[in-house]
Symmetry: C2
Subunit: 468 residues, 2 copies
């Protein structure tokens, strides 16, 4: 995947990385929507790929060429008769004098990143060469990455092209450490063995590190910078990470902003604050990085900036080179996202008097589980398709390991009966496993005065449940 981040654009083609947790149905939809011509498949995901190809075949869609990637652990007992090429063999027959196909315009697309895939509305976020270049430099700068960094890949490359760091690490002459499996033992082993200087990871990964068995831990010989995002690092985890020897940077952004669009630039004077205050400062989403032209908190109705008082709430909006070109083949969603000339993040925030922003809530009720964004609406759509369900609402339940897990509140149709396990299994049959609710509660759903389901009340109920 790292090599392909160079090979594909240099061949004049467009990258479209797919989430490795997707099921065959979703993969088939995204292959079709992206009009992919070549599918590179790791051997561990071959079965899903083959399932997706079967679905495409059934629909009469043209199939992409398959290139299989293997490694030393690859067992040839896997059936690869349906694959066209093996990656390493393909590389072997490449030409040394191949001329790089440069983009005709710097605005040409370099990649498409799908934010969340449902059969109804996959959204392909288009990145340009220009944006990816500038975000690479910005990501290096916000990571405080000196020359010759050693970067441990934990953030998947299918997440905003790894925040554009495949290119950023290369620009800094860096070394990339790629691992098949992320575990506390592996993380510590890799850091020591390869002299890792930087890594990224969702709060879940931080959680995994601080809660790891002491036998796995090794004393860090140098400071390791960990970039985290998705949700602010909880204070306890933050302090424990720093005790172990990590330096945690809090980044903020969306797929539509090439990953991090802002960061909590840590002011040296904040080192002196008492722990609780420091944690409060660190949880801010901060200021835009140098690749982003503008980030603001605005009233979406009037497009006026909110007062920088730490209280007035508005929607976080971005504009600049490191905002997506648009959603692939979805002009309607693109126009909506760029209403009034700004990209609407869907996140609600306040602006502090020093200009740092702090996200307070999500407009779209996204659930962030293990670093993956789960749209509550997508899960609800599946729940609504269950014969017994009358009303459904999904919100986040706090979780020590995953950060959050989906929690479903359901009202059943009169005369119908089911139970939590049956609902969970139903969801697992129709969604990627990680998107299925882990908790199901049957109640009369609270409503707002206008008759809508009162999600705020449900969020509070889910919060009160505590971690699973």
């Amino acid at each position: 995947m790292y090599e392909l981040h160079f090979a594909v654009p240099m061949a004049g083609a467009i990258l479209c990385t797919l989430n490795s947790r997707l099921d065959a149905a979703m993969v088939s939809v995204l292959l079709e929507h992206s009009q992919a011509k070549i599918l590179f498949v790791d051997y561990q995901l071959l079965e899903i790929a083959q399932g997706a190809l079967n679905l495409l075949r059934e629909r009469g869609t043209e199939l992409p060429i398959i290139v299989l990637l293997t490694d030393s652990e690859y067992s040839s007992t896997i059936d690869i008769t349906s694959t066209s090429y093996e990656y390493e063999k393909l590389v072997d027959v490449g030409h040394n004098d191949f001329n790089i196909v440069r983009p005709r315009s710097e605005w040409d697309p370099i990649s498409v990143n799908y934010t969340s895939g449902t059969t109804s509305s996959p959204k392909g976020v288009v990145y340009s060469h220009r944006g990816a270049y500038l975000n690479s430099l910005a990501a290096v700068l916000v990571s405080q990455m000196d020359l010759f960094p050693v970067y441990l890949w934990i953030v998947p490359l299918f997440h905003c092209n790894g925040w554009c760091l495949p290119w950023g690490v290369a620009a800094q002459f860096g070394t990339n450490i790629c691992v098949r499996k992320v575990s506390p033992k592996n993380i510590f082993d890799d850091i020591i063995q390869h002299k890792v200087t930087h890594m990224g990871g969702a709060p879940t990964v931080l959680n995994m590190i601080v809660n790891s068995a002491l036998t796995y831990r090794k004393p860090l010989k140098n400071k390791v910078v960990v970039m985290t995002g998705g949700s602010p690092p909880p204070s306890q985890i933050l302090f424990k990470m720093e005790e172990i020897g990590f330096s945690v940077s809090h980044l903020y952004g969306l797929t539509e902003t090439y990953g991090p669009g802002a960061f909590c630039a840590w002011r040296p004077e904040w080192d002196m604050l008492p722990p609780q205050e420091r944690s409060k400062m660190k949880s801010r989403q901060g200021v835009p990085h140098v690749g982003m032209e503008e980030m603001d908190v605005k009233d979406p109705a009037t497009m006026e900036s909110v007062v920088a008082d730490g209280k007035s709430v508005g929607e976080v909006m971005f504009r600049g080179n490191t905002v997506m070109s648009g959603y692939y083949r979805d002009l309607k969603a693109t126009k909506e996202a760029f209403k009034d000339g700004w990209f609407h993040s869907g996140d609600l925030a306040v602006k502090h008097c020093d200009g740092y922003i702090e996200v307070k809530d999500r407009l779209k009720d996204v659930i962030v589980s293990g670093g993956e964004n789960i749209s509550s609406i997508e899960v609800e759509t599946v729940l609504y398709s269950h014969p017994a369900v009358l009303e459904a609402a999904v919100v986040a339940r706090p979780d020590d390991l995953w950060g959050e897990t989906p929690c479903a509140f359901l009202k059943l149709k009169q005369g119908f009966h089911t139970n939590s396990q049956e609902i969970i299994h139903f969801c697992r049959d129709h969604l990627p496993r990680y998107m299925a609710p882990k908790t199901v509660i049957f109640i009369d759903l609270p409503k707002t005065s206008t008759g809508k389901i009162h999600k705020l009340v449900l969020r509070e109920k889910a919060k009160a449940l505590g971690s699973l």
Copy 2:
């Protein structure tokens, strides 16, 4: 000057910084050529400015508005009747609600930097907003400047807009330390008092530091990165700097490349090399930075890249966003500089097998004195204007303090008599003082087979003289 690097572009105007060592005649020429509308003058340079204005008045040229800058040492006995405004008073009446005038295009000019000023051929290097933005980020990256740096200004802001670091330091939330006078004592005092993390300086400044009286020196509490360029740092100076606690980075570029276009990216494994080898590595001009698209060493006749063997000599050429837009009001020189689609640096170099370049000689015989570029041709033009001079050639003489000083070789016309002192005074009357030769030698000039003056022989003679 630092404030104006923001105020002028934000007013929709174009910066044109003038070398503070220029004389009134040169300033008048550059004011006329640049068509400057406002002249900001430090009170210490007011006399030169007034002299320049008088010359403009004599020529019937429209005069710019004058804005006087003062400081606490300013004595009001200086005649400022001819000035229109005082800077601080002007700032006081500014409007808080002033709307920034953004460039219509990112290719719009942000500044003009004059490379060397003679009445015959001032060359105004035009920088664009786009190039300055990218070079700011690149300068931060090659300087390994983390967030919240403290930058000591020794490189003048009239040199390539301080390598674009006024903007780069701001982008990293940095602190700027500006000083009136550069001396070893001041440098050490400022570093300690302000916790300086980064500074730039010509090899002359490094020389000044390592040869400073021990009483001025103070132990450095943290590593101070010093970026140097113009000519490679001599090994002895390099090692002494590192002993004192500085980390020296070798940068390479020209005014036409926004300052540094390349840098000797220091590979960690080079730390293990014996001192002489390390010094050899450090003296390389290196590799292009991430803002520069391409740097290559080419045969200017065929435009073929030289073989990367460390021996084959060619001309260093650049292309990319951080190459100037062109020379202001000089299409002929612009076309010449960009012949065949690459900017021709005029420097001769080899390329090593690892891709690092090493400059071997200068096509144009530029003399680098105290960080200032002196064109030998400009000095020769003045010498040729002396009634007694038949032939003149100016080359660099090595100098412990200045790096190099101009050394003139002259053949007098038959029947004419003069002496070194008279020639030096003549040059000082017609050139900025620093450009006047410090050494004058009367000989029959050696010639090449094609009848041209054999500068290589003269350079060797000047070298053999040793330091003044």
